[in-house]
Each structure stands twice: as C-alpha cells, then as structure tokens.
Amino acid sequence: MYRRWLWPGFAFPGVLWLIVLFAVPFYAVIAVAFGTVDPVLLQADPIWNPLNWNAGWILEVLGRLAPGGTFFGVALRTIAYVAIALALSLLIGYPVAYYIARHAGRMKSILLVLIILPLWISYLMRMLAWVNLLASDGYVNRFLTFTHVLSQPRDWLGGQASTVILALVYGYIPYLILPLFAALDRIDQSHLEAARDLGASPWSTFRTVTLPLSKAGILGGAVLITLPMFGDYYTPDIVSGAPRTSMIGNQIDFYFHYGGQPTIGAAITVILAAFLTVLMAYYMWTIHRASREVRTV
C-alpha cells in the first residue's frame, strides 16, 4: 500500500545525520591519529587518504603502552580498576537482581522503581554526593572516627585507589542490575521446579539452572558497564584528581585539553576504540538479536 521509496525516505535524515556527525567524525580521529604534526605551529595535520597514512604516532603510542613505556602503568591501572569495579558490581548486583526478580513479591514494583531511580539522577550529582560524604570532616570520616575504626580522619579524596573504585561501582552498577534483573525475571519458574522435583538441592538448582539461564544478562550488563568505565576520566578527576589514580581516559583528556598534542590524544583514542571493538560488537549483536526476537513474536 505504501510506495517503495517511502521507508528509505523516512530513514534518510537520520542516516545522513549519523553519517555526517558520527561516522565521518570518527574517521577524522583516525585521520588525525595517522596524520602529521605541523612542526612550527605544533597543530595536528590530518591525512584523509588512507594510502598516505603516517603510522608514526600510533606506533609511538603503542610503544609507550608496552611494558616499560610511560603509558604502561596507566593502562594496567585502568584495566585493574575496571576489572575490580566490575567484579564488585556483579557481586553486589547479582543478589539484588535475583531477589527482586524472584522473591520480592509485593515489593517488586517499588524496588524496581528504586533501582531505576539512580539512572535518572545525574552522574555528576551522584559523584558530588560522595565528595560531600568523603570530605575530611564529612559523615564517613566522622562515623569512622566516632566508632574508633579510624583514629584520625582519612584523606579519602586525596588520590586513593579504593575511592576511585568505589565511585566507579557506585556510578555504573545501576546499568548492570537492570539487564541482570531482566534476564532473571524471564526465567521460567517451571524449570526450577523441575530441577527441584528431580532431586537437585537449592544450590545445585541455582548453579545448573538459574546461573546458566542468566548468562546473557550477566554478559550484556558486564559489557554495558565495562565500555563507559574504560572511557571514564571524570570519576577519577572528581574523587581523586591525583596522577597516581589517573586512567587512560585522563590521558586522552590531558593531551586534548591541557597538553596541546591532539595527535597523541587521537592515537590513544583509536587504540582504545580498537581494544574495545570486541566488546562493542558483542553488545551490538545482543541488541540486534533482542530486536529480532521482538519482531518475530
């Protein structure tokens, strides 16, 4: 009933927008990273033709990322922070999602609203909240000195790795709990009953039925929070600000905003994006599959 060109016509403005302001800009980063630097003005000179690319800056940054290089520590620290924050998030998030999906009963909708709420409170507002709490005379220090856990206030905001990891967990865990909840909520209760009827203990039912069936949610949620954590620079900036807790995102931020060497910044960005490609591809595949399932229902 509709003309054939109508649907591509509908999609056209959006596709054009994303080509001009998403795909081309990303290509610009690659062109700058594979470009040269003006020797007089020290400005980035992008090279648009891939045949003329100059791999010098990419190789330079890769060299610095290798063991012994100046970025090696930062890269290692970034991976360690993300890994610890992810593990903690799963450790806290899984029981929460499990409880809400399986045992919350009448409280289910209220709890759902309460765990969705942080998603709609600005990330910066939530970080500000912790800056207030962790100040030297803040509630956390006062509580800990009052209960004699600490003999004197601790400088939580002066470059502590534990503070940065706590902030990362606090910032990103809501994005993990929702996919976990969705996966656990979808599990058909009759599978669990079948396992119990066949003699499985509660623990082995969990291990052999619930856990494998929630794998998609675990992986999806883990990727969903890992990607932004790898690109994060503002969290360590806000709750620490010290070089000894800086992450790879801080390096990109530094070379663009303070260091005045956008070519190096662009090279780090390209390498980071390449490193994250596998995770991005996996996540896009899950979205794609989910939307296909909806379509066939």
């Binding site: 999609a11 998403f22 081309v24 980035a44 709609w120 507002m125 912790w130 809501p174 620079y233 896009m284």
Partner: protein, 308 residues
C-alpha cells in the same frame, strides 16, 4: 468464624516467621533481603544527604547548621538565583535539552519507522550505524566531534551549536530503540485495515500510525530531555568556555575547587527537572495506552521503556 480463623492463622504464621528468623537468621532469602535493601539505601541516601546540604544555613557541606533556602535564592551573591555563572549554566542546560528534544525526536521517529520497514539495499548497514552510538564510549564520541568541529566544520567551531549537534547525535538512537519497540508491538494490521477501508497512505500514516505511536514519542522525548540534561562528556568536549558551561560542567569544576552548598542546590534543581519530565512521560504513557494493558505483561513492558 472464618474471619477469626484467618486472623488466627495470620498470627501463627507471623510467629513461625519470627521463630524461623531467630533459629537461622542467614537462611537464603533473608540474606538477599538484607543485601537488596542495603544496596537501595547505599544507592540513594548519599544523594538525599547532598540534597539536604543544599538547604544548609552555613557555607559547609559537611556540618548541618539548620534549614535555609539561602543557596537557592536567599544569598545575594552565591545563590543559584543570584550567581550568574550558575544561572547561565542552568539556562544553557535547558537550552541544549530543549533543542535536543525538538530535533532528535522527529528525526529518530522517522528513522525508527524507516528502519523497521525498509528491507532493500542499505537497510542493514543503516541499522548497524544506528546501534553504534549506543555502545561507543562517550569520550570517543567527544574526541570525534571536537576534531570534526575544529578541523573540518570550522565554520561551526565549538560552542552552543556544536553542543546541540552533539547531543542530537547521541540521542537519536535512544528514540529509535523506544519507538521501534512500540512499532513492533502494534504490528501493521491497523494500517492495513485503514487501507482496506479506503484510506490513502498519507491518511493511514497520520490518522492511524501516528496516534498509535504517540505514547512512545512522548516517552522518547522525555528520555532525550533527561539524557541531555545529565550529559557531561559531550557538553564538555564541545564547550567553548565559561559561557557554554552546562550544570554538570559547573558541578565538575566546583567539586575540583571548593564547592559551596549552591552547587548542591543547582544539582537538586536539575534532578527535579529530570525526574519531573520522566514522571510526566510515564503518566502520559499510562493515559495513552489505557485499555491496552493486559494485566502484568503490559506493566513490565511499560517499565521496559524507562529501563533504558
């Protein structure tokens, strides 16, 4: 008689529960209850304390000295109302969010319909392209947009226009995902029925499809408003200095210097804007889809939109 028996049984089961609790306080669900409610408190109480200190009577954000609206409008220099940097930041945030909603929503709605029905050459790569902004770390997008506006589209440069273009770029995909879900759930039968009854394609689109999509359009507009207000990275990378600072950028620079309770106050105001827009959208969704909901299945679907 039965009522009494019921009440008696209720009392008994409560008694058993308490006894079970005393015998083994670590039985599984109890442990889960404890973890869940501790998590909920941990995730929300810090924010509530930050809101509380926005009403503090002194300059301290750590020592409570009594309630006052000083940091909202009372203080002649540093309150949200009188400090020009804070006021400008709030206006800039609202300006970006408003423009983002007005541009991203129509483009996203058209893209959603187009991608859902276009099957010819080019539809797959377009689908693929649409998903990319959802998974790209914001810093990568920030770097890309900064370079394109400083190296190629130099006639735009950085500043408000660039910020709006950037916000629209990351918002379109959210609109597509929300609207597409709705498109799939309503199917094509209503439009086909309209066509059978003699409606032209234009009439079928505007009188049948558009009203059916309205709840998703309203919801996506609210989500776009909220993600634009909350955005920090793109706004910061495309900012051209103090005049284009948004509220998240002010919070960021304030926490690194010496923040006053007025920072908490402006953060609270923006939080209320976001939550209000989402509550309104949720209510609108409920009103528009009245009569469609089939008990619980519909309810979780409603919520799915807000889980994004």
């Amino acid at each position: 008689m039965t009522a009494v028996a019921e009440a008696r049984r209720g009392e008994l089961s409560a008694l058993y529960r308490v006894r079970g609790w005393l015998r083994n306080p670590w039985a599984r669900p109890r442990f889960l209850v404890l973890v869940t409610w501790s998590y909920v408190l941990w995730s929300l109480v810090p924010v509530l304390i930050a809101v509380q200190f926005s009403f503090n009577a002194t300059r301290s954000r750590t020592e409570w000295a009594g309630f006052s609206a000083r940091w909202y409008w009372g203080d002649p220099v540093d309150s949200v109302w009188h400090d020009p940097t804070l006021r400008h930041a709030a206006i800039q945030s609202l300006k970006l969010a408003g423009a983002d909603v007005l541009i991203a929503t129509p483009i996203g709605v058209l893209l959603a319909i187009g991608l859902a029905r276009w099957t010819g050459w080019g539809s797959r790569p377009s689908n693929f392209l649409m998903l990319f902004p959802l998974v790209t770390p914001e810093i990568v997008m920030g770097v890309s947009l900064l370079l394109i506006f400083t190296q190629v589209f130099t006639f735009i440069g950085t500043g408000t226009i660039a910020q709006i273009l950037g916000h629209v770029t990351f918002s379109i995909s959210y609109v597509v995902v929300i609207v597409r879900g709705r498109l799939f759930s309503i199917g094509r039968q209503y439009e086909e029925a309209a066509a059978d009854l003699g409606a032209s394609p234009t009439v079928a689109l505007t009188r049948v499809l558009l009203p059916l999509l309205t709840p998703a359009i309203v919801a996506s507009a609210a989500v776009v408003f909220a993600i634009s207000i909350d955005d920090f990275v793109i706004s910061q990378w495309l900012s051209s200095g103090g005049a284009t600072d948004t509220v998240p950028i002010r919070i960021y620079s304030a926490t690194r210097a010496a923040p006053l309770p007025s920072t908490n106050a402006i953060a609270t105001v923006m939080m209320l804007f976001t939550l209000l827009s989402l509550v309104l959208a949720f209510l609108a969704w409920r009103v528009f889809t009245r009569g469609e909901r089939r008990a619980r299945a519909g309810q979780t679907k409603d919520l799915a939109v807000f889980e994004l």
